[in-house]
Amino acid sequence: MNILDALVEPFQFGFMVRAFAGVSLIAVLSGIVGTFIMLRGLAFIGDAVAHASFGGIVLAMLVGIPLHIGALVFGFGTALLVAALERKTKLQADTSLAILFTGAFSIGVLGLATRPGFAGDLSSLLVGSVLSIRPADLWWIVAAVIVAGLVMMVLFRRLVYISFDASGAEAAGLPVGWLHTLLLGLVALSVVVSLQAVGAILVVALLITPAATASLFTKRMERLIAGAIGIGLVATWAGLYASYYLATPPGATIVALLTLQFGCALIVQKTRERVTKKGAVHAA
C-alpha cells in the first residue's frame, strides 16, 4: 500500500467522509469564534458552556426534544448567568463560572440516574464521537458556520473594536452589551456543535488552542483568524488519520495534536526571540 492509498482508504467509509467534513467545518467555525474567545479572555466561558450543555442534553433526552436545543439553552443560559452573577455579587468571574457549570453538570448527572440506560451515550457526550456524526448533525454544523459567517460579515469591525477596547467602543456609541451577548451566543453555538467532535471536556481546546498558537506569530486580526483556521484544519485532519490507523479515540487525538502544535510553536517562537535578542546585543 503506498501513501496515496493510505490517505484515500478512510474515505471508502461513509462515516469517515462525514467525520472529515464535520471536523473541517468545525475547524473553520472554531478558528473564527475561538480568536474572539482568546482575545476577550472567554476561554473559561467556553469550558463552562460545554459542561453546562451536558446538563441540557440530558434534560432534552428526558423530555424528548432535540438534543442540540437543550444544549444551546443551557449553554447560552449559563453564559448569560455568569455575566449577571459577576455584576450582582463580589465574586470573581471564574468563581461564578465554576459554580454555575458544576451546578448544571450535576443536574445532568442526577437526570441521568433516573434512566439507567443512558450511561452508554454519556461517555460519547463527554469524549465526543465524531465517527458517529449523522447527516442531521452535519446540517447543524453547516447552519452554525453560516450564522457565524453572516455575523462576521456584518459586524466584524465592531466585534473587533469591543474586543480590543471595550470602553472606547462604548464611548463611540456602540451597543457593547448587546454585541457582547451576541458573542456569547456565538460561543454557545460553536461549543454545542463542536461537542460532537471532541466532547464536553476537550471542546475548549478546539476553540482556544489554534487561536493561541496563531497568536504566537501574528497580532493582526485577519491573520489570526486565518492562522487559527489553518492550524485547526491540519490538526483535525491529521488527528482523524492518526485515529483511523492507530485506533485511538479521534477527539482526544485531535486535541493532543493541537497541543503538540502549540508546544512546537512556542519553542520555535522562544528560540527566535532569543536569537534576535542575541543578535541585538551583538549589533550593539
Binding site: 463580589k90 465554576a98 450535576s106 442526577l110 487561536a211 493532543a256 508546544g263 522562544k270
Partner: protein, 299 residues
C-alpha cells in the same frame, strides 16, 4: 443507621471538609479554574502510573495523579509567564494533558478496564466495600484513610504556614516585599490542592470535585468578610451540603455525588439571595430603606 451509611457519610464529610478548606484559598487567590485544571490533568498521572507499575489503584497511582496535578499548575505558570493570557494557559494545559491521557490509555492499556465514567463521576456508594486491611485487622474503608490523610496533611501544612498563606492570598506583592518565598509557597499550596483533589475524586469524580472545591468557599465568601470565619463556614457548608445531598440521593435513588453537588449549589443559591451583607435581597432592602429614609441626601 447501617454501618455502610456511616462510612459513606464519613467519607463524604471528609471530602467536603478538605475541599472546602483548601477551596477558600483558591477563591481568595482567584484561582477557581485552576482546581478544574488540576482535576482534569490527574487522568494523565493515573494512566502513566498504571503504565509504569501495571497496578490499578494504590499508592503509586495516587502519587502519579498528584504529581500530574502539580505539573499542570507548573505548566500554567510557565505559559502565563511566557505571555499567554491566564485563561488560555489553563485551557491549553488541562485539555492537552487530559487528551494525552486518553490517547495513551487507548494505545497501551486498551485491554484494561480503567473506567472513564468512574473517573469523571466517582461512586461513593462503593466506598464501604473497599476496605483497608493491615495485618488481618480491618481498618475501615480505604477512601476514609486516603481523604483523611489528605485533609490531615492540608491542616498540618496550613497550620504551620498559616500567616504566610494568608498574606499571599490577600496581597502577594506585600508578601514578596516581606521576603516571603511566594513562588515556593504557591507550589506548596498547589501540592495540597492536587493531593486533596486526587483524594476527593476517587469518591466524587473529577467534575464534581471542582464543585466541592469552589462552591462551599464561594458561599462562605458571601456570608462573611473575616478570613477565619470564611474557613470555618466553608467547611461547615460543605459538610452540610454533602450530608443533605446523601440523604436526598438515598431518598430519590440518584447519584450521590450529583446530589451532593446540587445541594452545594442550592446552599450557594440561598446565600446569594439572603446573605446578610452581600445577598441580593438584603442589599435591595437596604437600598430601598436608604432612598426612603433620606430622600434628599441619597438622590
Amino acid at each position: 443507621m447501617l454501618i455502610e451509611d456511616f462510612w459513606v457519610m464519613l467519607t463524604a464529610g471528609l471530602v467536603a471538609s478538605s475541599c472546602g478548606f483548601i477551596g477558600v484559598y483558591l477563591i481568595l487567590r482567584r484561582m477557581a479554574m485552576v482546581g478544574d485544571a488540576i482535576s482534569h490533568s490527574v487522568l494523565l498521572g493515573i494512566v502513566l502510573a498504571f503504565l509504569a507499575t501495571r497496578i490499578l489503584g494504590g499508592v503509586w497511582m495516587f502519587a502519579g495523579a498528584a504529581v500530574a496535578g502539580l505539573f499542570a499548575t507548573f505548566l500554567i505558570q510557565l505559559l502565563h509567564r511566557g505571555g499567554a493570557r491566564e485563561d488560555a494557559a489553563i485551557g491549553v494545559t488541562f485539555t492537552g494533558l487530559f487528551a494525552l491521557g486518553v490517547v495513551l490509555l487507548s494505545l497501551y492499556a486498551g485491554d484494561v478496564h480503567l473506567d472513564t465514567e468512574h473517573v469523571l463521576f466517582g461512586e461513593l456508594a462503593y466506598v464501604p466495600y473497599d476496605v483497608l486491611i493491615w495485618q488481618s485487622v480491618e481498618l475501615g474503608p480505604r477512601a476514609v484513610w486516603t481523604v483523611g490523610a489528605a485533609f490531615g496533611l492540608t491542616l498540618l501544612v496550613t497550620g504551620l504556614l498559616f500567616k504566610e498563606f494568608k498574606v499571599c492570598a490577600f496581597d502577594p506583592a506585600f508578601a514578596l516585599s516581606l521576603g516571603i518565598p511566594v513562588t515556593l509557597l504557591h507550589y506548596v499550596q498547589m501540592t495540597l490542592v492536587s493531593v486533596t483533589t486526587v483524594a476527593a475524586f476517587e469518591s466524587v469524580g473529577a467534575v464534581l470535585a471542582v464543585a466541592m472545591l469552589i462552591v462551599p468557599g464561594a458561599t462562605a465568601y458571601l456570608l462573611t468578610d473575616r478570613f477565619g470565619w470564611m474557613l470555618g463556614l466553608s467547611v461547615v457548608t460543605g459538610v452540610v451540603s454533602a450530608w443533605t445531598g446523601y440523604a436526598v440521593a438515598v431518598w430519590l435513588d440518584v447519584s450521590i455525588s450529583g446530589a451532593m453537588a446540587t445541594a452545594a449549589g442550592a446552599v450557594f443559591g440561598l446565600a446569594f439571595l439572603f446573605a446578610p451583607r452581600h445577598g441580593v435581597l438584603p442589599t435591595a432592602l437596604r437600598r430601598r430603606r436608604l432612598t426612603r429614609g433620606g430622600t434628599g441626601a441619597v438622590a
